[in-house]
């Protein structure tokens, strides 16, 4: 009797839990599906019934979105993303490593500076940053995005990687010294390759940020040819002429790369986070 009860409750609980998971997953996924469905409609179809399936999928919406400038935004995002993510991960790793290994008191100052950087919100710096960017002639260049992205994501990167390096076996480096590596060689040939998972986590976190950043891209870039996807998308929504379904197609195109990137990296992502973690 007890046996039965025990097992039935377990199955019941499991069913309930799955039901909950599925409902929640639907809530998360449904809007995404909705957007894909409607991106294949004509404008009037969208306005008549947004829940229905498209009669004839209008793939040209995608082509139109792509041609309407999304291709440029897309490439810009890729370029800016690649450079800033690489630089952030790399400089962040170097700094975190320095903070962990340095013996001088200076490292505490650096660490607090990093912590402080974590707390500051970009808007606060927007105005002065804009003036600085302008003064050093970066305004309306890719660097106007890349450099602030790096600067504002570095604290988080350092923070994340520091806790990883704290647990990094020092013997590996010493072993490399004895093998004849210089400090820099050790960093590149031993420390970095081994830290791949945390680098991946940091890269994902940074990539998500960079791919989606809006404010700096909005303010520091004026040239349409240099705009990234977020600003580009909002540009689509011009005051008078809006091709809604094309915009939906644009949203889909703009979001896919990060989704794919995440799904490809998700194993390393969790692994890295577990190894590093966000604790102080």
């Amino acid at each position: 009797m007890i046996v039965m009860n025990n097992k039935t409750t377990k199955t019941l609980l499991k069913t309930l839990l799955y039901l909950f998971f599925i409902v929640l997953a639907t809530m998360v996924i449904y809007p995404l599906i909705w957007i894909i469905i409607n991106s294949l409609k004509t404008n009037s179809e969208l306005f008549t019934n947004s829940l229905a399936l498209p009669k004839n999928p209008v793939w040209s919406n995608y082509i139109k979105a792509w041609k309407l400038g999304l291709s440029t935004y897309f490439l810009n995002s890729l370029l800016v993303g690649a450079v800033s993510v690489t630089a952030t991960v790399f400089l962040g790793a170097a700094c975190a490593y320095g903070v962990v290994r340095s013996q001088s008191k200076f490292k505490d100052i650096v660490f607090y500076m990093i912590l402080g950087g974590l707390l500051l919100s970009p808007q606060v710096a927007l105005i002065s940053l804009y003036k600085i960017i302008d003064k050093i002639g970066l305004y309306n260049t890719y660097w106007a995005m890349i450099i602030p992205y790096i600067a504002f994501k570095l604290p988080f990167a350092v923070f994340l990687m520091r806790s990883y390096f704290l647990g990094f076996p020092k013997e590996l480096e010493e072993s490399a010294y004895i093998d004849g590596c210089s400090s820099i060689q050790t960093f590149f040939r031993i420390v970095l390759p081994i830290s791949k998972p945390i680098l991946a986590s940091t890269a994902i976190m940074t990539a998500i940020f960079v791919w989606n950043e809006f404010l700096f891209a909005l303010v520091f870039i004026e040239d349409k040819m240099k705009m990234t996807i977020p600003v580009g998308l909002s540009n689509f929504r011009d005051a008078l002429v809006t091709d809604w379904t094309v915009m939906l197609a644009g949203i889909v195109i703009g979001s896919l790369p990060m989704i794919i990137f995440y799904l490809l990296m998700q194993k390393n992502f969790i692994k890295g986070l577990t190894a590093g973690g966000i604790k102080g």
Binding site: N43, S44, F47, T48, L68, G69, Y130, K131, D134, G137, Y139, N140, L218, V219, E222, D223, K224, M225, V231, S234, N235, R237, D238, A239, L240, V241, T242
Partner: protein, 410 residues
């Protein structure tokens, strides 16, 4: 900036690069500008035009940022009125008076379209696209409800009432971005108050004490029930789509929207809609034949290093030749005289442009006519008023407070 580094061409003449900023990044407009630029470059081998564009909403913010940099565009788009005037006051706009007065440049424009670019008797810009606000209506729905095209305010309200009774939404209205409501209020203000509005709109004076302002809002309140539901939650173009889908009978639109309507609507619909002017308000103090709507135009930067070349480009850009191309390809009419003949372009566009050219005077859009801070308060309060969350008196009190504050900073 690195763009003005002189290059030397074969002939030994120095090539000058000027920066050009407009607000039409989308097609087909962008291509149009590209062609204009390359035509110009072909005619002026010593000038290179570096073209950039920002779309409408962000443009309003970005232009300020851009003008703050050392790399400001030499020729840029702007809305005349207070929006431009602050740049003029800050010395960011080049004074064209001298050039305009020579070689009959000034005379090549329809003066009512050039006048908006005048401040303190100096000319600062040239019109690129004329515009005005008119009502479009769905003939079929009017018939259904037995409604007449109104010419007075009272008739207008009756028409609305009739439509309402026939279960037809009388007016399509999308006011999520509240510049839309400002067009109604701007028009009604002008019609009721008259010349006093210019005193009110001048940030250095900022006097909204005329009771007409409250009266205008009271009149406006009368039409609020005839708007579609949730006007504050939908965008202007969405409302227009609804109107075109037959979900509402009328809509207050800009003339420049007509080509867009024409291009996307069905042939059936094309014959099924008509236009009429904003009804006259019989006891209003204002000149009832003024038209709401200002042209848009271009100016030369006050800090440009190549005024000669920039002015040349401006002149070409807003001139007759480009105007014709513009009318044929985009359906937009610029401010130059006699650009097209009737029949060359769609009749609706041509006819409506004539309304503009024939108007005695243009009344600036409320949102670009007012100081930004005052405008912001005004618009927010108007949205509130539509939701019945405030009263006309309160609205004007808030506006006056802000206007006073702005005046004090002046």
């Amino acid at each position: 900036g690195g763009n003005d580094t002189p290059e030397v061409k074969d002939e030994g003449e120095e090539v000058v690069t000027i920066k050009f900023l407009h607000r039409w990044p989308q097609e087909p407009y962008n291509t149009f500008f590209e062609e204009v630029v390359s035509d110009f470059e072909a005619d002026n081998p010593n000038i290179k035009v570096d073209m950039q564009s920002i779309s409408n909403d962000p443009f309003k913010e970005k232009i300020k940022v851009v003008l703050g940099t050392d790399d400001a565009p030499d020729v840029f788009f702007t809305w005349p009125g207070e929006f431009t005037n602050r740049f003029i006051r800050a010395g960011k706009v080049y004074d064209l008076t001298e050039e305009m007065n020579s070689n009959g440049w000034k005379e090549s424009y329809v003066y009512s379209q050039l006048e908006p670019f005048v401040l303190d008797e100096k000319i600062y810009g040239a019109p690129f696209r004329v515009d005005g606000k008119i009502f479009v209506y769905n003939k079929e729905l009017f018939e259904q409800a037995g409604a007449q095209v109104p010419s007075t305010w009272d008739e207008f309200l009756t028409t609305c009432q009739k439509l309402e009774e026939a279960n037809i939404v009388p007016i399509a209205f999308g006011n999520q971005s509240p510049w839309a409501v400002s067009h109604y209020i701007g028009t009604i203000n002008q019609k009721i108050i008259g010349e006093n509005i210019y005193k009110a709109y001048d940030p250095a004076v900022g006097d909204f004490s005329d009771p007409g302002f409250v009266k205008a809002l009271e009149e406006f309140e009368k039409m609020v029930p005839y708007f579609n539901a949730n006007a504050n939650a939908i965008k202007h173009d969405e409302a227009r789509n609804n109107w075109m889908a037959g979900k509402a009978a009328m809509m207050y639109v800009e003339i420049v929207e007509i080509p867009e309507i024409e291009s996307v609507c069905t042939d059936e619909f094309r014959d099924n809609y008509g236009v009429f002017n904003f009804p006259i308000i019989e006891d209003g103090k204002g000149n009832q034949s003024y038209l709401t709507g200002y042209p848009e135009g271009f100016v030369v930067s006050g800090t440009t290093k190549h005024p000669k070349e920039a002015v040349a480009f401006l002149k070409y850009l807003t001139g007759k030749e480009v105007g014709k191309k513009e009318a044929l390809e985009l359906g937009y009419i610029n401010g130059a005289k006699n650009v097209v003949e009737k029949g060359e372009i769609a009749d609706v566009v041509y006819d409506n442009t004539q309304i503009v050219f024939e108007a005695e005077r243009m009344v600036n859009w409320l949102d670009s006519g007012l100081h930004a801070k005052v405008c912001n308060v005004y618009l927010a309060e108007l949205q509130k008023l539509m939701d019945g969350m405030t009263t006309p008196e309160e609205v004007m009190q808030k506006v006056q407070e802000k206007a006073t504050e702005v005046k004090d900073e002046f």
